[in-house]
Symmetry: none
């Protein structure tokens, strides 16, 4: 089996300033093409440490991916060290230079001198184009071992992996990979890990020689199925069988697979049916609206929303009756229902969603504790609100309430 290694370069990881999430992303992707990572090494911005790791890479790993240290400042050492290690010299790549100049042109700012350096690459490397930034990626080879350098900025690195690196690796190693690793993740929301596992029952009966991992996250539990097949068809068959068994037992909690996003799934459903949405947010503070508008094309079905963070604004902006606020309070079934209904009507949308709750850490009472959230739903046919308790972490409550609102909409779209 082919094996790979990741070298993360940067003092900021060593001193704990940032968490190495790049390595997780790359690890998952290399696994998916049958070249699993066997070692991840993080080193500082020093020449000696990188040279030592490169020696080890060329000796023992088919593929090495290096991230970080490709910027234009004095502390970026990866490019000069790689160039020296492979006995190369740096030459200017005109296409990259045009791209770098274009980035500054498009932002209407003068390009600093130092960015000319960004367009230089080792003479015999294969360039991996960076659409999102100025630092090009580089593919080098020695003794049939591949070393790939990518920038440490996550969205640039991810785009380059997905757009180019995986395909280039698959082309190079097509004859060496006579097995097929595949994984599929089922995404759930609205149920905890232990309840999920209880409903599924004895895992071994379902997965046999394969693997199933439970991965809790802020909005729900992901279940990851890992199989190794003789070929893609065989791996797919194995996954299909396991997924089927799991869906029979907990299908109602699964809202998507792999990289699906609840906000995207809900958006697709709205768009397909030509339906529209508006939201009225209190405790989620704009987060639902922001999640929905993360999806390109959301303007087709999302008319907008209001964030009524003060009591006054619920009354003035959203016309919630003062009687409702006085008798039941801002965090109540009645207020949530009025918010959902009024925002739907104000924006002239098919659906209205609302949230009102106590995100904490302060503001809780005996009867209305921190973490209490009412989520309202309104369509032409019906308006109602549902009560949730999300615990005492502010950030988590916001996120869970936002996903619960989207989940409520999804269930009522079915």
């Amino acid at each position: 089996m082919l094996v790979s290694k990741i070298i993360s370069v940067g003092d900021e990881i060593l001193i704990g300033q940032i968490v190495n999430s790049n390595a997780s992303y790359i690890g998952e992707k290399l696994y998916s093409i049958g070249i699993p990572v066997k070692k991840i090494v993080t080193i500082g911005d020093t020449k000696e440490a990188l040279l030592e790791e490169l020696d080890d890479s060329i000796l023992s790993f088919d593929v090495t991916v290096i991230t970080g240290g490709l910027g234009p400042t004095h502390d970026d050492i990866t490019k000069p060290v790689i160039t020296e290690f492979f006995n190369e010299e740096l030459v200017t790549d005109e296409k990259i230079l045009e791209h770098v100049k274009g980035i500054f042109r498009s932002r209407n700012i003068r390009m600093p001198e130092v960015n000319f350096e960004q367009a230089k690459v080792p003479a015999n490397c294969r360039v991996i184009f960076n659409h999102g930034g100025t630092a090009p990626g580089m593919w080098m080879e020695k003794n049939n071992k591949v070393v790939i350098c990518l920038p440490g900025v996550p969205f640039e690195m991810k785009d380059m992996i997905d757009r180019y690196v995986l395909k280039m690796l698959q082309e190079k190693f097509v004859s060496n990979v006579n097995y097929f690793l595949k994984s599929k993740t089922l995404l759930t929301t609205g149920i905890g890990e232990s309840h999920l596992s209880e409903m599924i029952g004895n895992v071994e009966d379902i997965i046999e020689e394969n693997k199933l991992a439970f991965l809790p996250s802020m909005y729900g539990v992901r279940m990851r199925i890992d199989v190794k097949g003789a070929d893609e068809k065989n791996a797919d068959d194995k996954i299909f069988k396991i997924e089927n068994e799991i869906r029979k037992k907990v299908g109602q909690y699964i809202f998507g697979v792999n990289d699906d996003l609840l906000e995207k799934e809900v958006g697709k459903m709205l768009e397909e049916r030509n339906l529209t949405l508006a939201v009225a947010e209190s405790c989620t503070g704009g987060l639902i609206s922001s999640k929905i508008t993360d999806i390109s094309g959301s303007s087709k079905y999302f008319f907008g929303g209001v964030c009524t963070y003060s009591n006054n604004s619920k009354f003035y902006i959203l016309d919630v009756k003062s009687g409702t606020l006085e008798n039941h309070g801002a965090v109540s079934e009645e207020t949530a229902m009025e918010m959902a209904e009024n925002v739907r009507k104000k924006f002239n949308a098919d659906f209205g969603l609302s949230t009102t709750g106590i995100a904490g850490p302060s503001g809780g009472t005996e009867t209305k504790p921190v973490g209490l959230v009412w989520i309202g739903f309104s369509s032409k046919e019906k308006t109602f609100a549902k009560k949730y308790l999300f615990g005492n972490n502010r950030e988590r409550t916001k996120l869970r309430a936002a996903y619960a609102a989207l989940d409520l909409l999804k269930k009522n779209l079915k």
Copy 2:
């Protein structure tokens, strides 16, 4: 200077199922006691890989912290491998056995056979007590080099580091640590890495024998100063001097230090002056509002906002004149100004902020390209809008526009 290394054991990190946040925690703590981490290695659950890393540790690192692989199941290899490496044998520790039994007793469940193994440790190790779980920590020594094994469960590991490990290391190495390491990070927004570096000029003149690292993120560049002082006072003096020089040159771009958040700094300024804010968001889709309400206590100064994602809603909800939308378009200086002014008045707030732009990837034209954003500001005294170009990544444009809006408010609060 003393140096340390972290070995993280576990397949789940290699295949990207979990992010290695344990290493960040340990890295920060070891740095704080003057034993900085120079290498972090993640390996799978195999004996060979761990033995190889232990050889390297004993050769080159004063301290090695291993996490993971201490559980009671077949795939937990750390304890047997460590025992073999140090030529020890496993003996039952009665105090640990009592503790393990107690854990099961307190949960009222029978203790499985396999947990008797948890109470065994190498005969000559120093036990690091685990109050939160069944796996004990172990401290081993060879040639004055220390190897510490801790469980991979984050809250158990953290408790053991804070309660015992740091103190034990300080006691052992008290005569070796005759220096003080300190770092401080200056946070900027609204300027790119290369322009920042150009404005600062020759870094060496400012930092002398110390370090300055540029760390780009989605919303701005962080600059981390690292110094080594004779003692804490001396380290503080060095940082003070360097920070001063940097602030002289690029102070207007620095909005905070270390873990500060722009949304928190702006909130503090509003709260201190008893001023209030409302926002009207188009292309940021609720993100500004969500960022502001991430801060506990934001209801004191944040009245709320509207997200007018459709043209109609700008007109109906926010009373932007139809003439403005027809003559100048939704993405224009005029619309941004009306949005900011109208939302301020509607919410009866002191300040209004607005965003309108083309987040992309589609919707751009020759004169209004993807990434164009107008940000509006309105107070009782003045209303204006500023033009920005943020490039063609949707997520990044949203984030940069949100931070640019907060930065605009901050500058006008001064």
